[in-house]
Amino acid sequence: MRDQDSFFVGYLPAPPDVRRHAILAGLVLLAGFVLAALTLGRSPLDIGASSYGDELAITGVYSASPYPIVVAAPDTAHPRGRTIMLGGEGKVGAQAFGAAFDGRTVTVKGVLVKRGALDMLLVGGADQFAAATPAQQRPAATQLGRWRISGEICDGKCASGGMRPGVGLAHRACANLCISTGLPPVLVTSAPVEGSAYLLLANANGAAAPAAIADLVALPVTLEGDLERRGDLLIFRVDWSKARTS
């Protein structure tokens, strides 16, 4: 304990050395806070640029399973046919909106959210779907064999720029909430697979991923299963009993 004569009584004027010390302590605190803010404020993760809001209408065949997607006819920019995942506005999947159109040719309108190669069309409601002619053929799935692939499971909407950063442990519960409402889960792969940086995730039988996927989201995982290509989208039919966190 320091021995000194100065004594501070709150309702009396402070002795000069206490006053000096208090002002100094206050200024040190203020400076410390500003310095801390400068250091802590910088974003720890460089997530790259993303865009949100470009309007887009795409015509192609709508598939409801494993998650709503539209596969357009091949063109020069997309020799396999541009394929886009659909989501709702807010935390909601597009399943209910497209229910009447599974396997049919449609024009879907929405806004595009896009980061790097990953993108998604956000659709406001069933009224944004319209049957289109001429009818296109349902695209065949190309089987690419059995794979074991590492990466991070994200919800496709936040990871494509719906939120920034929208990935990582801090965002885990948010991603789980998105996936539970029917938004498509994706595996952002540690290294490109067949030229793609991400895969749409499904069950081994090709249906939507099970609810237990929630325990694996946002962690480094290794998944095993069958890979297929529909249009230019890779779909990973995972054997979830073999999923490992590392």
């Binding site: 806070f33 400068l38 910088r42 939120m163 929630a214």
Partner: protein
């Protein structure tokens, strides 16, 4: 005397204190947002995410400072001005933490068909594993404690609950701090990228622990003699000051010297249990170092018109040593001060 005796009202010191507090918070948030959106840096996070990070880290730093003030003031009396208005610091911490949580609920847990609070509790249930543990739950528990402390912070609750209950309640601020450290350790600190928070948070937590350990070591010791406690030579006690002697049951006694005579009273102030023995004699009265409540040395009563009372204790002098009877007298019972003469040189 009665004009000065207004410890619960507003005064210039409190206004300066609060102004500085608000300035530090506002500066922190603005500079944080500026640093996060700095042009030329990486593309920024969402506005809501930047703000939840700003308010969260601000609340953590404030809580660390609040917890450091007690031991700092014990180690160096000149830090007492920081302690004077600590409750406002505490309440401000609570408001900043609440703002953090509001941004989280209004962003990560919004936009769905579920209630945000229900979504907070159900979206991540990986309680069985360390990586991916629902760290939000620690933050929620800490926030509940902070809200409870802030709501019961007024002196009304202190007298309503009685000082020991209120003090026990306030000690839960340490539980809140532990929860916040866990909240960050299982969340932001687990990020795979190196970031300053991974250094700042452990440094603050270790600093708080170290200060408490240092302050605890500075507490005095004593020995016993047939029930009476041997305090030592009277010149251990300087004029106008006290030494603090622990007695059984976790209580302690402050022995003051005033005009060459010794008086012993309970160390805990009747206001908020402030350490009277770390106070001084001002205008003939023992004056609490925290908010300046005053007591007469000879009977432990506040001077009229005030009515606070603390217990007095008996002293005697034997072979040049001061002895203390650890049995308290009734609160406010008069005890003739023990004459020990002026200390020479």
């Amino acid at each position: 005397m009665s004009v000065r005796y207004t410890p619960v009202g507003w005064n210039a010191n409190k206004i300066v204190y609060d102004a500085l507090l608000v300035a530090a918070i506002v500066a922190y948030i603005l500079v944080f947002i500026w640093a996060a959106e700095r042009p030329g840096g990486a593309p920024p996070y969402d506005d809501a995410t930047i703000r939840m990070r700003a308010f969260g880290s601000c609340a953590f730093l404030m809580l660390s400072v609040v917890l450091a003030i007690g031991p700092l003031a014990r180690l160096d009396r000149r830090f007492l001005p920081l302690l004077y208005n600590r409750r406002h610091f505490g309440v401000a911490t609570c408001v900043v933490a609440f703002t953090h949580a509001s941004y989280v609920l209004g962003w990560y847990f919004a936009f769905s068909a579920h209630d945000p609070y229900a979504a907070l509790l159900t979206s991540n249930t990986s309680y069985a594993r360390l990586a991916g543990f629902p760290f939000e739950i620690f933050g929620l528990a800490a926030l509940v404690i902070l809200l409870l402390l802030a709501v019961t912070s007024h002196d009304f609750w202190l007298s309503f609950m009685s000082a020991p209950v209120w003090k026990a309640l306030h000690m839960s601020v340490y539980a809140a701090y532990t929860l916040v450290v866990a909240h960050v350790a299982f969340g932001a600190l687990l990020a795979p990228v190196l970031q300053p928070l991974q250094i700042v948070v452990p440094a603050c937590a270790l600093g708080v622990v170290a200060l408490h350990a240092l302050a605890a070591r500075a507490e005095p010791a004593s020995s016993e003699n047939q029930g009476w406690i041997v305090v030592g030579a009277p010149d251990r006690i300087a004029e106008g000051r006290a030494i603090v002697v622990p007695v059984e049951g976790g209580e302690s006694v402050a022995i003051f010297r005033h005009e060459g005579r010794l008086s012993a009273i309970a160390n805990a102030c009747a206001h908020q249990n402030g350490p009277l023995g770390e106070g001084r004699i001002v205008d003939g009265c023992i004056t609490c170092p925290w908010h300046g409540f005053q007591y007469r040395p000879e009977d432990g009563c506040s001077p009229p018109p005030f009515t606070e009372k603390v217990a007095t204790y008996n002293l005697r002098l034997e072979n040049g040593a001061v002895l203390l009877d650890p049995k308290p007298n009734a609160r406010g019972q008069r005890v003739e001060p023990l004459a020990v003469g002026e200390t020479l040189a």
